[in-house]
């Protein structure tokens, strides 16, 4: 009988700052060499669970703990954070924020430096792990200048230099585009096999994690474990969608086709699942790809030229048009100019050539403030936008600055807060809001000014399925009722597949394609260029030899 590596028995935990426990009677075991996914919507307690494993609770966050927690047979609570960190390495969610060193080499070396190891040994180990992760030539660069995937590999190397037995990942996919995310999951898989490590991954992007190999899934909701089983059993039982998580797209398709998902073996693996008996049922779901066309050209980008560095212009003669009332997605790998394009539209940056016209009028001489009356822009990080202390004041501030009388301010703010489901919290201090609530708040603060065009930078980052679908139905609503044009910069595949009407693929300053999301996600060349991935539906269609996978992509749109 193998002893569990991690053993939790009836663990209940309450933060001192809160009145209710965050974890209720949690019991589970993880065995050596297992790869376990802990999934749950925001607020389900998965981050708290991770903090108990790596020792941040009770050392950085105090609270009351009852129950038995052991790692490697020893009680977790009797060990210091330092002792624990030698056994369990943690890769934090935001790799940008966790870099301590000035350079990649120093960051990898950090824990060894703290162990006061001789410099010669530190250098050897850094070289070894940097080479293992393909970072050997980047040792002297600042971690911040790397691509998302390289950042994550740096963070992983910095933890693996300890050669511990357990790796903890807190939302490893959150800041990666789909292609880099797939590469990261494959790398985790490889490492685990190479070193027989135990790996715990906390994620809510189930689809991407399941496409790599996982032994077990623990589903959490409201501080309790609601399911703990193999991926196939979890999918068969259908517990994901009931607990605020997205099921993989091909599972959504199978359910729509009336396939008895609960009886199919290997259903969690799109490469193994055998649904050939249901091929016809699935194929009949195919829907012609709808091209939602909007004819009124609203925003014209003409021969736009821009360069951060005169030697290497980013955009040269870029032209496109955006139509009134459409929902446009801008996709492309990180650093290819998506955010720059939106900064040019909003006036944050000034082009060196070309023109931007709104309803036939050039915007180039308008200030940021003047453009903001027509084009609302919601930044990726809500903390960069919030300036007021309470929810109400935050939404009201834009109106008050435009000298609108207070009665009307109240009316418009309340109406907007109801739309984003924050009206009940209107007098709350903003510091008490979750990340997802702050995000909705910033959208409300921009929308209250009634812009004709709304630009959202990664609106679904850090949001679970429930909040994403709330946000989307709300955006859909204003798109239909107010004819607001919506431009979304994203690499969220679910968002693309389910919501966006037209997709612009921007790569290295060029518009590589202007197409529908369904077609984009079924085109391997384009998907590679944009650092996306084809959907699991596409993979399933391939295995079933269905000719038009894009028509199946179209089938799961709401």
């Amino acid at each position: 009988m193998v002893e569990p590596f991690i053993d939790f028995q009836h663990v209940t935990f309450k933060y001192h700052a809160q009145s209710e426990p965050t974890l209720h009677d949690v019991s589970f075991q993880i065995y050596p060499g297992e790869k376990v996914l802990i999934a749950g919507a925001s607020g389900s307690g998965k981050t708290t669970l991770l903090r108990l494993l790596n020792g941040l609770i009770p050392q950085a966050y105090q609270g009351d703990i009852t129950g038995e927690l052991t790692i490697n047979g020893k009680k977790i609570l009797n060990q210091s954070l330092f002792d624990l960190s030698l056994q369990a390495g943690t890769v934090l969610q935001d790799s940008d924020a966790q870099f301590v060193g000035m350079t990649v080499a120093e960051d990898i070396a950090f824990s060894l430096e703290n162990d006061n190891q001789p410099i010669k040994i530190v250098r050897e180990k850094v070289a070894k792990w940097a080479n293992r992760f393909g970072l050997g030539k980047r040792l002297t660069l600042a971690p911040q200048s790397l691509s998302g995937g390289q950042k994550q590999r740096t963070a992983m190397a910095g933890v693996l230099v300890d050669e511990g037995d357990l790796l903890l990942f807190d939302e490893p996919l959150a800041s990666l585009d789909p292609a880099a995310g797939a590469a990261a999951m494959a790398l985790i898989d490889e490492l685990q096999q190479e070193r027989n490590m135990t790996v715990v991954v906390i994620e809510h992007r189930i689809e991407d994690v399941l496409r790599a190999h996982v032994d077990r899934v623990i589903v959490m909701a409201h501080g309790r474990i609601v399911a703990n089983d193999t991926p196939t059993a979890i999918i068969q039982a259908g517990v994901l969608s009931a607990n605020g998580l997205d099921e993989p797209l091909y599972i959504q398709l199978l359910r729509r086709a009336g396939v008895p998902v609960n009886k199919i073996p290997h259903v969690a693996d799109v490469e193994k699942v055998d649904v050939s008996n249901f091929r016809d049922q699935i194929e009949t779901l195919a829907e012609p790809v709808q091209t939602v066309t909007h004819d009124d050209k609203q925003l014209l980008v003409q021969n736009l030229t821009f360069a951060y560095d005169q030697q290497e212009p980013l955009f040269e003669n870029l032209s496109t048009s955006i139509h009134e009332g459409e929902i446009l997605g801008i996709v492309g790998k990180n650093g290819s100019g998506k955010t720059t394009l939106s900064h040019l539209l909003t006036g944050f940056l000034t082009p060196s050539g070309g023109d931007i016209q709104l309803d036939g009028r050039s915007l180039l001489s308008d200030s940021i403030k003047e453009r903001a009356d027509h084009i609302g822009y919601v930044l990726q990080n809500p903390n960069h936008m919030i300036t007021k202390a309470t929810v109400f004041d935050e939404v009201a501030s834009g109106l008050r600055l435009r000298n609108i009388d207070e009665e009307q301010v109240t009316e418009r703010v309340r109406e907007m807060l109801q739309l984003v489901d924050l009206d009940g919290m209107r007098n709350w201090p903003i510091s008490a809001l979750s990340f997802g609530q702050k995000k909705r708040l910033t959208i409300a603060a921009v929308l209250v000014l009634k812009p004709e065009i709304l630009i959202l930078d990664e609106p679904t980052a850090g949001q679970d399925a429930t909040h994403t679908s709330q946000l989307l139905s709300f955006l859909q609503n204003i798109n239909i009722t107010n004819h607001t044009t919506i431009i979304i910069i994203t690499h969220d595949m679910h968002l693309l597949a389910n919501f966006v009407q037209r997709a612009l693929v921007v790569v290295d300053g060029q518009i590589l394609a202007d197409t529908t999301p369904a077609e984009l996600l079924a085109n391997e060349a384009l998907v590679d260029a944009a650092s996306l991935r084809t959907t699991s539906i596409y993979r399933l269609a391939q295995r079933l030899s269905i000719v038009h996978p894009e028509e199946l992509n179209a089938a799961i749109r709401k």
Binding site: G55, L81, G101, E106, F110, F348, Y377, G398
Partner: protein, 275 residues
């Protein structure tokens, strides 16, 4: 990409390549002797030396212009305050009285102006030296240097992290400022000073919050990787002393010795041209 950011940058000069410890020791030696000495000839020489160093370090004027203006502004206010509050101090120091204008309590003497000129020189030489130190020393090397001369490594690392975050905070500031302008705060040159000041205040709050968030995450990340485990730590960036570093310390020592010799020949800290 952006040259206006303040802080360390890799530049290919000998000052950049010197170790943090040597630069720190040199900086401390020169500023200390310069602060003690009131020998005008010595201070002028130091000022020229530090401007030569800033030139040799390939630091462009735009990079430190704002800070220079700020330091000069504070320095001038300081001088004005001294003139107003202690107009006879120069006379006391030098023991003679060459009246230029004014009478009674508020008499401006050559001695007073000469004394204040010495103070100005102190600002002028120490500013470029600090800029050279900050702009040419990799923050972690700087921390290693501090640690080597006896500063506890936790303090040294805190300094390094602060230096490292200056560019990040600047870019946050810019993003927040743009976002606020989009919300309707006019902070561009189009609006009045009061409005611009109000707008700037709006940026402080989100900047503080985003910085606090950063600090929280980074301190957790550091603890999870055992920062603070022992009383000592090793430094990846630690560099061996080369001839250049030894020479740098020797030159600084030589300058200190000259300064001290001048104390002896002058019979004190002051060089008195009025006798």
């Amino acid at each position: 990409m952006d040259n206006s950011l303040f802080g360390y940058k890799a530049r290919n000069t000998w000052i950049n390549h010197a170790t943090g410890t040597a630069k720190l020791v040199g900086f401390l030696a020169l500023t200390t002797i310069g602060m003690i000495s009131y020998d005008t000839r010595f201070l002028i020489a130091l000022t020229i030396l530090s401007f030569v160093l800033i030139k040799m370090a390939h630091i462009k004027y735009q990079e430190y212009a704002l800070l220079l203006k700020l330091v000069l502004f504070i320095g001038l206010i300081n001088l004005v305050m001294i003139t107003v509050l202690a107009p006879q101090y120069g006379e006391q120091l030098y023991g003679t009285k060459h009246v230029m204008f004014g009478s009674g309590w508020f008499t401006i003497t050559q001695e007073q102006l000469f004394y204040e000129f010495n103070l100005l020189l102190k600002y002028l030489f120490s500013f470029p030296l600090s800029i050279v130190l900050l702009f040419t020393t990799n923050p972690s090397e700087f921390a290693a240097g501090l640690n080597k001369i006896g500063v506890p490594y936790k303090v040294a690392y805190a300094v390094a992290i602060t230096l490292r975050y200056i560019p990040d905070v600047q870019s946050d500031y810019r993003t927040i400022s743009l976002a606020q302008q989009a919300r309707g705060y006019e902070i561009s040159k189009k609006s009045s000073l009061i409005q611009r000041m109000k707008g700037t205040v709006q940026i402080i709050l989100p900047l503080v919050f985003s910085s606090l968030g950063r600090i929280d995450t980074i301190s957790q990340a550091m603890e999870l990787r055992r920062f603070g485990r022992y009383n000592k730590r090793s430094w990846y960036q630690e560099q061996r002393f080369s001839m250049r570093d030894v020479a740098m310390i020797l030159w600084s020592t030589l300058i200190v010795v000259i300064g001290v010799l001048l104390f002896i020949t002058n019979g004190g800290r002051m060089w008195n041209p009025f006798k």
